[in-house]
Each structure stands twice: as C-alpha cells, then as structure tokens.
Symmetry: C2
Subunit: 309 residues, 2 copies
C-alpha cells in the first residue's frame, strides 16, 4: 500500500525523505500524480483540494501535517475515516519560546533599550516583577496548554481562557463568554492561541479589544483572521494597546503596503513561531499510523465543528 | 543598635523604607552622616570607601546589597567580621530570563526578521533545534547555577565551565583551564557569568575568544572587565563572533562614542539584567541578620580571593 503526500500542493523532498525513514514499508506518492488511487491507504495532507480525499476508495485515515484544521473545516466532502491532527511537542515548545521571547521583549522594555542604544543613552527602567506580570492565553487546546505551562514554569502569572472549562496545573483557567471580559481585562499580555473556525473568525473585534487592560500588549501565534485588523490598528494608534507581535495574518505572505509592516508598535514575523520539522512530524505520523493499524484511536482526532477551543 | 546603609554613597529612600519594614527594631543610618559610630552593629553596603568599615567598633557583620564582591576585594582594610553576599533568587531569575531573551534572539534570528520587516520582506529561515543549541555558561557560582538550570529547563543543551568542578542536574559541567578550549569551542552561545577578580580581569582575551566556535554569539551579564573590548570588537568585525549582547561594561555608564553603542552586531543594555529589588533584598538581608544573631553562619559568606568561581 502507499501513502499520499499532499502538503499544500508543493513538492517536499524533506517530507518525502522523512516519511521514507519512518514508514519504510510504504511507497510515498506525491500529489497530484497518483498512478493508482486504489493503492492509497493513508493520506498526509495540508490544504488539500476540497473533495479530493474522497477519490481514494481504500483510504483508512487522513493525517494532517499541522495542528490547524481549517482545511478540513472548509471541505464539506470529507471521507468517513479518522482524521488526525499533528500535535508536535517540539513545535509547541518552539511556539512557547517564541511567545516567551515577546513577553520578555515587552516586560523588560527591550524596545526602549534598543532606541536608547541608537541615541547612546544609558538609562534603566523599572520592569514589572515576573510573578506579577499577567499573561492570558486565549485558547487552551493541545498547543495552548503546552505554551501556558512553559510560561508558568518561567515564573509568570498565567491565566487562560477557553470556551469549555480546562484544568491546568499552575494556570488560572477561565471559561465561557461571560468570563472573557475578566480574562481580557486583567492581562498585561494577551496571547491568541484560539483555533480558527466559524465562531473565532473576527473574534477579537473592537468590543473585545476594548476590554483589554489599557497599555497591554498582544501576541498572535494562531491565525490572523481571529483578530480584526482595523480594530487592532485603531487601538495601537490610540495607545490602548501598547504593542503587538504578529506571526500570523489574514493574508500570508503579508502583502506589501500592509500597515502592519511599517507600524512602529507592531513586530511582524513570517509565520515562523512553530515551524513543522518534517523529521519529528513524520515520526509522530508513523506512530499514529501504527496505532490505527492496531485498530486503536490515535490522539488528537479531528471532530468537525466540535470542541474547537 | 543601628544599621549603617551605604549603597554606593547615594540616598536610597526605597532601601531605607524596605529595611524599616523588615528590620523594624533597628534605626537605619545613611552614610555619610553617622551620629554615633559605636551604635552601628550591621553595615549594609555597596562600593563603600576603603577602610570605612573599620570605623565601627561594635560592627557584627557586613551585608552586601549585591552578589558581586569587587568592593570587598579592593579594600585591604576590612574588619574581621562575617561579610555576606546578597544572592537574591528573584534577581538571579531576572538574569536568567535576560539571558534567555538573547539566546532566543540569536537562535530564532529575530534580528533578521526585524530587518526584513523594515524591507517588507516575508521569508522564513530555519533555526537550530533547541535541544541541539549549545549554550555554555562561564562561571557556575550561585547565580550562574540558577541561570544554567533555567536555560536547561527551557530545553536548550547546556554546559558550564568553572574553575573548580561543579555538579548540576542537566548541565554538562567542565572545569579547569585545560577544559576551557573545549567549553568555548562547542558552544553556539557563550554566557559570561564569571565573578570579577584579579584572575578573571581580561580573562576573555584574544586567545580565548579565538577558541569560540566560528559564528557563535556572546552574552555578558557579569562584569565588563572580564572581556577584552578590543579583542571582542575585532572578532565581531571579522565575523568570527556573530553578535554580542552586553549588559556590563568596563566603564559604566558606557561613555558616549564607545564603539559598542553603534556596532551593528552589538546589543547594549544599561546593566539591567538583574536589578536588585530593595524589598526582596531587604527581606533576605534581615533573614541573614537573624541567622547571625542566633550565632549561625548565613549562606554566601564572602571569603577573600577564595572560591571565586
């Protein structure tokens, strides 16, 4: 039997190589040239064309190359097989360290010190005490939980908000719409880890951003569509939001001329907070396939429009 | 009895207030106006004038407001009483997070992304895997050990070098002059945590910096005098050292016109990596005084020119 690889429609020699290492007994067929659709028993995909996964009559499961699920959400013609999200702890750790970098950047005023250096100015500024510095994660799914834990381990005061109630060691967990103003209002930094779906698109709008503590900063590592760009820009201009570190955008690559590129309070990075490592990812995917072959259910099964936060 | 406060010869209302909170039974006398030298039983000092501590006939102990010991090293006329260094875990944690910030800055190429933003350029760059990224701390004293642990806890590959052999959980500990080329040669980032004394002044000279791995970066959080400025600048210019984050300098404040201010590969911060918090510090000092009053020895006793690393 063979594996279909369709990682965003592009060639990925590194992925192909990694899958051969971890799944040596299977041929890897790269989309779109598929000699025999009946030979495909597993499909490893990201951004597959809608309906494509129905073409393989012997498909046993679909495995995503990422943790996001939007490519499944928008496909109304999915096969009736298990769909497995990729939750790579190494990637989650990278995202946590990315988040930590910007938390420290804001807390310790490294932007001010950079400006002072250009002016040859030597002046210390007091910083908030780490254990009093309140970081609130929106979204406590598999990735958000790992990030929350890592930030907590570094001594910050950490809270998290999710649609349904979670329980995480060392993290103040809030849940439900009614708790959101409190979560937004007490944080020095809001970190958006929400998954994208119909209920989170445009979720952080003018009203919700206005509920943030005056002078707080925001970090977006999830999806650009969750924050309303115009509302964010307006609050950055007014000073209500002091700074933003944005790794994700409504349109990627971020188009030339976007106001985010040149805004003095915005830090743009090119969706690099948690790059998928084909080698660690292929290993996890191979383990999920082994689990499926044993007739068991792997972790992180995708369920359409259920438990999305 | 009364406490002498001489924190660098300046007035410190915040220190005075904090000491009154934690040592309510003692009067706090601020240098240089001392109504009665016989009333002083404890001296809390930083950068005291040489020989001054001999003036108090009833002095029971000296307590430093910092972890450094250079103000004691250069005083050849110290009283024969215990001298206690201040090792504030909150300060050490701050220094660890400062170090972590620059480690992430270099590992994840945030400088490149900042430059790309100014050019409106969207391009990802691969980063070294955290568990393969080798951080070497020079100096594994009380502060260095805490920093090493925190960096290890965040998933980095961590080694440390000290004059005498140490044993720290999760840290590859090297020791002695003969192990130094190996320690310097394997690290992607060298973090200087050595204490300043006669044997560490100018320690990181041209020869030792040449032993660093090509393209490695350096972070200095200890004392400027330990790194030879000219050698560092020469290796930054040649590219052998890729970048430097410097919090400490031979002369502080760093004088206008210093090449460090304007060097494109140098990040200057104004000795802020671990600011002393008078409140937590006064609490630790008051606990040391209570320990001394019970006739016991507090932690972190200063011993002249002994066990300096």
């Amino acid at each position: 039997m063979a594996i279909l690889l369709n990682n965003d429609g592009r060639r990925h020699p590194d992925w192909k190589r990694a899958l051969r290492v971890h799944l040596p007994e299977r041929e890897v067929i790269e989309y779109p040239i598929i000699p025999d659709v009946k030979a495909i028993d597993y499909a490893i995909v990201w951004n597959h064309p809608k309906g494509d996964l129905r073409r393989y009559p012997n498909l046993k499961a679909v495995l995503s190359t990422g943790s996001g699920t939007e490519h499944f959400d928008r496909d109304t013609n999915l096969p009736n097989v298990p769909i497995v999200r990729l939750i790579d702890m190494a990637m989650a750790d990278d995202m946590a360290l990315y988040t930590l970098y910007w938390i420290l950047h804001f807390q310790r005023q490294f932007e001010t010190y950079r400006q002072q250096q250009s002016l040859q100015k030597w002046k210390r500024h007091p910083s908030p005490i780490t254990s009093d510095y309140n970081i609130c994660l929106l979204g406590l799914g598999a990735i958000g939980a790992i990030i929350a834990q890592k930030i907590a381990n570094n001594g910050f005061k950490i809270s998290g908000w999710s649609r349904s109630q979670k329980n995480l060691n060392g993290v103040t967990c809030l849940s439900g719409e009614e708790a959101l103003p409190e979560a937004l209002g007490m944080a020095d930094i809001i970190v958006n880890c929400l998954p994208i779906n119909t209920s989170t698109t445009g979720f952080l709008d003018y009203v919700k951003l206005s509920q943030m503590k005056a002078g707080a900063a925001i970090i977006n590592i999830s999806r650009g569509q969750i924050i309303e760009d115009d509302a964010l820009l307006s609050f950055l201009d007014s000073g209500h939001i002091s700074a933003a570190a944005l790794d994700v955008f409504d349109q990627e690559p971020l188009p030339p001329g976007s106001p985010f590129w040149s805004h003095p309070k915005v830090h743009v990075t090119p969706h690099m907070s948690g790059a998928t490592n084909p080698d660690t990812a292929a290993k996890i995917i191979s383990q999920s396939i082994l689990t499926l072959e044993r007739g068991e259910a792997p972790n992180y099964l995708y369920q359409k429009q259920l438990s999305k936060r």
